[in-house]
Symmetry: C2
Subunit: 328 residues, 2 copies
């Protein structure tokens, strides 16, 4: 007897009905690299595409230790208590180096993870990529088809993944600690300019004044930088998840952005551009995958990398030769 | 009788002897897309690679109207008068929209272009790419082999080319006008954070105080941002090419960076990383070129782009199917 969970219909119907078990299985399916799973997953995505796009997609980043999970829990609870259905694509904490997290080994997002209207999914590809993979976009689509109207994608803030996340979300939120110096270490240059809002965390106790000062400084600094294409001026706010302060304000900022960008047409323009970018990004990534995974190419590249700084290697020509070899 | 200028030796020997006419022809050769020129050019590059790497490579960007050519002329004259041999890979002005340039139709960099120790080469691919092409890196190599010890690459500051330029230069200089508002328009977000120094131009006359204020503000703002991997804190300076002020200071900043980065090893680390990045960038670009230029792919993509926001297109799967078709 054939297994019903091997058919596209099982997944499509379950997801469209909002069945979280089926949603989880579908995400696992598209994460699998096996050819038959890839094929099945493709049909599932095709079958639910028409019911996607209706959520608000929020990217959240910040270095380990800034309090991302604490913030997402507070912010997430605020969302679900206000009637939203929230999906969180989170970093898998077991693969992150601990960097002085106040919570230590405490389970992340305890309260949120058991809420009926919240769904938390750890990303399997965290670590070097900071939590974002080629599957993340499709996972967003699956969650939307399952009825989630707010989606959070969390990344670590130290790698290429932030560019990818800003390309698949509507709003990019950067969490930061107050004060310059060590707290700035680990944030990749360029990310600050990408942010639609900066949220300075742990604004409580002895740290409160420091956080307020940082807010003033960054608000002023951001005005010196070019405006976003949306016409939105990035906002700076302080928050304390422990005292549940600044959480309402963070949501108000996001809603304010949503209103502005929907009104001036930028929201749908950006979504359309993101689909196009995602198509070309997928093309580029898959071309490279096929090339770099070829056994003889792997072999040759090892040698080339060793000799790169001998001064005798001409990178552009080497690339040309390798590609000709690969095509034939 | 065979044409001696069709042999690699003609170019290699001429370049290594510092012959500017041969250098110019070599650059034209590598810019040509004809297969036989590409092949010949490749051999030329192979033959001069051993004599490259000894220059300081400076990228300069800023929106049209900020005074790039005026600055490059003043700065360039200062360099050659101090014993340097300078090559400038410049934007071809005829393909740029004029944006209120004070100089109007005046020939760019008049004095510098006739100096014995300066070589100015307009880039043929300006416009949308802002002056940087896949040939730019090889042009740098050719100029170095011809004995130039300081190379300036100029871009427009509004496109992808700035990322490319920062990947092939040692130092990235952003020219800006004083004051926020309109002057910030046209600078792509993220570029400011990439800059190793900001130079506020036209710091003279009625604009002097405004320029000084801008310097104070930006110096403060840049301290709020993550440090560069080199440990260098970006500097802000003002200058007036007309009054020849700030030009010496600009060079001192660059020399200060050079000393720091050579001492702490970052200079050669970056150069090595750039070679590797260039190899992988070349692979990626050439793979895409072969793919996108295939006639049936072009045809299919036109249809796909039209239907992208119908909500029925799954970009990742479409990419997969297109690539399978192309490989077969």
């Amino acid at each position: 007897m054939s297994n019903p969970s091997n058919t596209p219909e099982y997944y499509i119907n379950g997801i469209l009905a909002g069945d979280i078990t089926v949603l989880s299985r579908a995400i696992t399916l598209i994460e699998s690299t096996k050819a038959e799973h890839q094929e099945l997953g493709g049909k599932v995505i095709d079958g639910i595409m028409h019911k996607t796009g209706q959520s608000f997609r929020l990217g959240i980043t910040g270095v380990p230790g800034v309090g991302k999970s604490t913030f997402i829990e507070s912010f997430g609870l605020h969302l679900v208590n206000n009637g939203h259905r929230l999906a969180v694509l989170a970093i898998d904490p077991s693969s992150q180096k601990s960097k002085g997290s106040i919570l230590g080994d405490k389970t992340r997002m305890e309260k949120l993870s058991v809420h009926a209207n919240a769904f938390i999914r750890p990303s399997p590809s965290s670590g070097t990529l900071g939590g974002v993979t080629k599957n993340t976009f499709e996972t967003i689509l699956l969650c939307e088809a399952a009825g989630f109207d707010f989606i959070i994608v969390e990344t670590v803030g130290v790698g290429q993944s932030e560019i990818a996340v800003s390309q698949m979300t509507d709003f990019f939120l950067l969490l930061m600690l107050a004060g310059a110096g060590d707290e700035l270490q680990g944030i990749k240059r360029g990310i600050m300019e990408m942010a639609d809002a900066l949220l300075i965390t742990k604004a409580d106790g002895n740290n409160l004044q420091k956080a307020k000062n940082a807010k003033t400084e960054y608000t002023h600094a951001l005005h010196l930088f070019p405006p976003s294409e949306s016409g939105w001026i990035p906002k700076v706010e302080i928050c304390s998840s422990i005292q549940n302060e600044g959480i309402k304000e963070a949501l108000q900022i996001i809603e304010s952005y949503k209103n502005l960008s929907i009104t001036n047409g930028y929201f749908s323009l950006k979504r359309k551009q993101q689909l196009s970018d995602w198509l070309h990004y997928s093309i580029s990534e898959q071309l490279k995958e096929k090339f770099y995974n070829h056994p003889s190419i792997k072999e040759e590249l090892k040698n080339i990398e060793k000799n790169l700084d001998s001064g005798k290697i001409n990178p552009y020509r080497i690339a040309s030769e390798l590609i000709s070899k690969w095509k034939n």
